[in-house]
């Protein structure tokens, strides 16, 4: 009797046990196999640079050379992983900062800084706004500075109508916000508090298109995709376009976008191939996703910098506003 029972029960019991054993085996196997994917080029970072890199990666992968993955962790999040040595390439909508340089140095990560395109921050108003076709940087500062009390268009410039002013802008986690506040108010992140902030630029487009007295700003691609719903505003008499951005006339609201390549990864043939492909096709990719490409002469210069493996940044960890493309490529690199 007893023997019988003991025999019966384990048959099910073993099934349960072997299931558990299988689970444990799976974990064991996968832990040992985790670092075996070397043929994948890992890219992460800025959401602003993402569309360009995605376009390039898509084209590159069709050549069958290597696998590419692109994530969106933001410029800061990207540098965090990059400096920990987890990435081959980091997308960045601003130059690397001092504390990130220190983090990279601590881990022995050296990097090659390559400008890939321009993003023109576009100031926009409602379709019904017939008066503000042009604003000066001084007027923008008057509107956006931390101590600003401007709540009506008539206070922006005499002659503007009596129309309440409603402000829309990217939230504090955005690189666009950092650059705009630096360029207009003179200090990154310093801005008045009473505006509608959103990390989702489509929300800003919606907001501006619904309020006659609205004023907002975001990347040019979002203006291009919504031309029919909102107006663009010239800054200091210059309207944002491929020509004015490339010539450097649309200043200070155009900013360069970068990729940072891990110098160690750059030795890998697939990463090398990818960068060659990026420098050849990056301009076209940028235009295709409604960004402004660098002038054609810039890409070969950047490629040379990569081929000679010149590491470091020209910015020395500082935000720089209104830099011309030639300065980006010829200034001395610092580490």
């Amino acid at each position: 009797m007893v023997v019988n029972q003991v025999k019966l029960v384990p048959s099910r019991f073993t099934a349960l046990l072997s299931a558990t054993a299988a689970t444990v085996a799976v974990v064991g196997l996968s832990i040992s196999a985790v670092n075996s994917q070397s043929s994948v080029i890992k890219i992460d970072g800025s959401s602003t640079v993402y569309p360009i890199t995605e376009k390039v990666a898509e084209g590159f992968q069709k050549t069958g050379s290597a696998k590419v993955t692109v994530g969106i962790s933001g410029t800061g999040g990207g540098f965090k992983k990059f400096c920990a040595g987890e990435l081959d390439i980091s997308n960045a909508s601003r130059p690397i900062l001092k504390k990130e340089m220190a983090a990279c140095a601590a881990k022995g990560v050296r990097y090659i800084e390559l400008p890939v395109a321009y993003d023109a921050i576009t100031v926009v108003t409602n379709k019904g706004n017939t008066w503000a076709k042009n604003l000066t940087t001084a007027e923008l500062k008057k509107i956006w500075e931390p101590a600003s009390t401007v709540k009506n268009w008539k206070d922006v410039r005499s002659g503007f109508p009596n129309q309440p002013l409603r402000l829309f802008g990217p939230g504090a986690d955005s690189g666009t916000f950092d650059y705009f506040t630096e360029a207009i108010n003179g200090k990154a992140k310093s801005v008045r508090k009473d505006f509608t902030a959103s990390e989702d630029d489509n929300v800003l487009v919606q907001g501006v298109s619904r309020d006659k007295g609205a004023l907002g700003y975001f990347g040019m691609a979002y203006y291009e995709a919504n031309k029919g719903r909102i107006n663009e505003v010239s800054v200091n008499g210059v309207s944002p376009s491929v020509q004015t951005v490339q010539s450097g006339a649309y200043t200070p609201l155009s900013r360069p976008l970068f990729i940072y390549v891990n110098a160690e990864s750059a030795k890998k043939p697939e990463v090398n191939k990818f960068i060659q492909y990026y420098m050849k096709n990056g301009g076209a990719a940028a235009s295709a996703v409604k960004y402004v490409a660098l002038p054609a002469r810039a890409y070969p210069v950047a490629m040379t910098r990569f081929n000679k493996k010149k590491t470091g940044t020209i910015f020395g960890g500082e935000e720089a506003v209104g830099l011309k493309i030639d300065e980006l490529l010829t200034r001395e690199l610092k580490e």
Partner: protein, 312 residues
Amino acid sequence: MAPAELSAQSLSPAHNAVSRRQLISSSFAILGLLVIFIALMVLLALVTSLVLQGAPRLNWKFFTSFPSSDPLEAGILAAWVGSVLVMLTTMLFAIPLGVAAGIYLEEYAPKNWLAALIEINVTNLAGVPSIVYGLLALGLFSQQLNLGESVLTAGLTLALLILPIVIVTTREALRAIPNLLREAAYALGASRWQMIWDHILPYSFGSILTGIIIGMSRAIGETAPLITIGALTFIAFLPPLPIQPEFPFISFEWLTAPFTVMPIQMFNWVSRPEQEFQVNAAAAGVVLIVMTLTLNGFAIYLRYRFRKGVKW
């Protein structure tokens, strides 16, 4: 006043009170119906608008294409395969752990302060925001255990997330079995394990399964913890197949592969400037809703099947 003198007049206050209560009762019924109706209408409107917006993109190509910067070329292949694999991994870990923990807490654990403490913790864990699990997973699985940004990390994270749900529903299911059954099994000389394995589990299996699947349908829509552990946005290749043509035929390499999932793909499309991507996002939303509804439908069917088999 004598009972004989009860007249319509003298009863009218009572009548009034009764009819007032009936009025309250029936108006609550109407209110309840209205609330349900409003909730359903909102849901229906949401699903309808999603389907209408996404319909033009819902074709075979959408399911078999990788993400692309061209909205017409872009598809959800990497996303749905990723979602399925992550769900599979989640199931693999959450079911044995959750059910076993539920059984222990309900059938074995002595009723003392330690059991009470565990119980409070499990219940509280069910209410912890998912991003917290993401942070835990980033530190523990991704960095400490060096599992990286893999399907395995994601599966473990989501398993952790739904574990409290599975434990709680397992316990509820076991508690619903009448004690008579346990006593009858003991009376015939069964051990505690025999009683659980041969009687309690088969009877409560339907309800346990429902809990598991409800947990799974929560997990399939999660975005925040997966973004935290580094799920990707652009990935144009599939993990290696679990079944290989050569010995040993089964490969677990997919567990270590980078991945993306449906909600992340959707989120990415929603934030794009081009209007065409909104159509893609809506189409992906429809697919996600269908996936969730299928899971739920499956749960209802299984519950029905197992309840039918219960004879006591």
